[in-house]
Amino acid sequence: MVTVRFRDVAKRFGGQRVLAGVSGELRPGRVLVVAGPNGSGKSTFLNILAGLLRPSRGDVQYLEDDRVLDQEDWYPTLGVAAPDMALYEELTAFENLQLFARLRGVHAHDHAALLEELGLAAAHHHKPLGAFSSGMKQRVKLAQAVLHRPSVLLLDEPSANLDEDGHRRVAGLVTRLRSEAAIAVATNDPREMAWGDASIDLAG
Amino acid sequence: MTERTWQKSLKWLLGFWLAGVTAAALLWAPAAAGFQGHSFRIVFFHVPQAWVAVLAFCVNLVASLRYLRGRKPLDDVRATTAARLGLLFAVLATITGSIFAKIEWGMFWNWDPRETSIVILLLIYAAYFALRQAVADEERRAALAAAYAIFAFVTMPFLIFVVPRVYASLHPNLVEAARGAVRFKMDPAMRMVLLGALAGFSGLFAWLYTLEVRVARVMAARRAKEEA
């Protein structure tokens, strides 16, 4: 179980101030909704939480049983899906999951079951991602984010491009995982905002 | 003495020193045997220039390493400044060397290992600046440039040791004759002037370097104030 604590996180890009001091924490079993209009810094904030971007000010800590983790140890605990993150289009859905499972040291995993939980029918598991529809790609991306049972799950617009059924499945996934992971969801979708136990609004 | 007057007097001292060394090199140092006319006097400028270039690249290395450890923007400024000065002095050493080569060997350029090594050195640091120019984000620019500088630096010993060993065999007569002649005929007065010139040029480098770093520091402070 990992808790992510962020204090006074601020970010500027060149002259533009994007985040102006955000504090709070992600706790296991809870979902934090990060809201705000386009360009308000939601994705930037998640990138900082993931350690992909350095904040201009403030800091982020990962705490496991009150022990502070080194940044190299953040990655194994993390699952991330985001719009600016693509999987490999030359590889099939299955090969993509297999690749990420290998990278994360997950051995016995039933990729097919996970893909079906996310609503991707078996007929598509062995097609290259380049031939997938937008919603099908999004499902594989989500499967990639959760296949190693991360303790910290950062979902940026998780149901972008998804249909009604997809929406429900993602909601189901979040419900299933909330007991074992600290979850942050950045979203523009009013339906997703309802998932949160807490929320941060980056507007203004 | 306050810091300012101290710095000012150092500057004057450096000026006098360089003027003295130049006068000694051109007028006082005895003629060396084995050279065409007074051409050897170029050594008093050529060698210190080459030395300062090497010194500057070492400073660049240290600053790059420090940047990667501490991520202080000032270290990046230090690295860039050192690389720029190193490039400048390497170009000067090449020019004086070519003039020397024209007089002594009859050609401006011979692809002798020395010449070749310095050209590669010039290319490497020109590449360093091309890389810097190609990255918009400041932090990333600094980190990538530092990584490249360090990586490049470790290949340099090979440039100096491997390359000449293989290449001397190609046209040994040119190379060995020239180098042998100089090594043996260095008399004490000449050595003194050369050491003086080395010290003077090192001082010149130190002055230019600190000046640029100070300017950069002031600019950074002003920008920080504007942003706040």
Binding site: P76, M85, L87, Y88, L99, L103 | L123, A134, V154
Partner: protein, 229 residues
Amino acid sequence: MHRSTLLAESLAVLGKEVASELRRRVALNAIGLFAVTTLVAVAYQIGPYGLAEQDRPFLLSALLWIILFFAATAGLSRVFVKEEDAHTAKALRLAARPLAVLYGKLLFNLLLLLALEAIIVPLYCALMGFAVKSVGGLVLVMVAGGAAFAVTSTFVAAIIARASGSNALFAILALPLLLPLLVAVIAGTRAAAGSPELLAVFPALRAVVSLGGVTMVTAILLFPVVWRD
């Protein structure tokens, strides 16, 4: 939460590179086309009899490596550049250790280079009438040279991918660093061509291996900086 071994991760990255390349063959086609074209054109122009006897071992070695060198440069940078172009770098950055990425891509580039050498070198020797006295020596030089070459190219590829991805920048950054290596491998090839003794290639081989070793260690230390920042 699980952890994979570095080896398993590196092999996973390698496997992914191989699978992707087999499906699209961009690097393979670019490299192969350049190498085969220049090789055949040069062979046609110069031919087995076109060079003065005393220059042959040196010139033929130099020419071979110049062709290999340029051919490789045209394709090796793609391993990192395409991850940035296709926006896949983020997922990889999150899932794999930096060193696994380095090793996986390095191995892939090495395989690419060795494949290229395996095709070009015999073809070259046949077309140009390049008689190599010590085939074992040549193989050693080719393998060691290819490995040392792959290290620098892969590292520089990682840098330019984060700068702009320009191939011109890749050449600008990589060529000066590769020149000492080029000198050493040419010397080694010449030695292999000139003497049936395996020992003859050792001086050059030592230079290649030590250069490869030093750059490898440096790349290992610096790669995380390049990859994650």
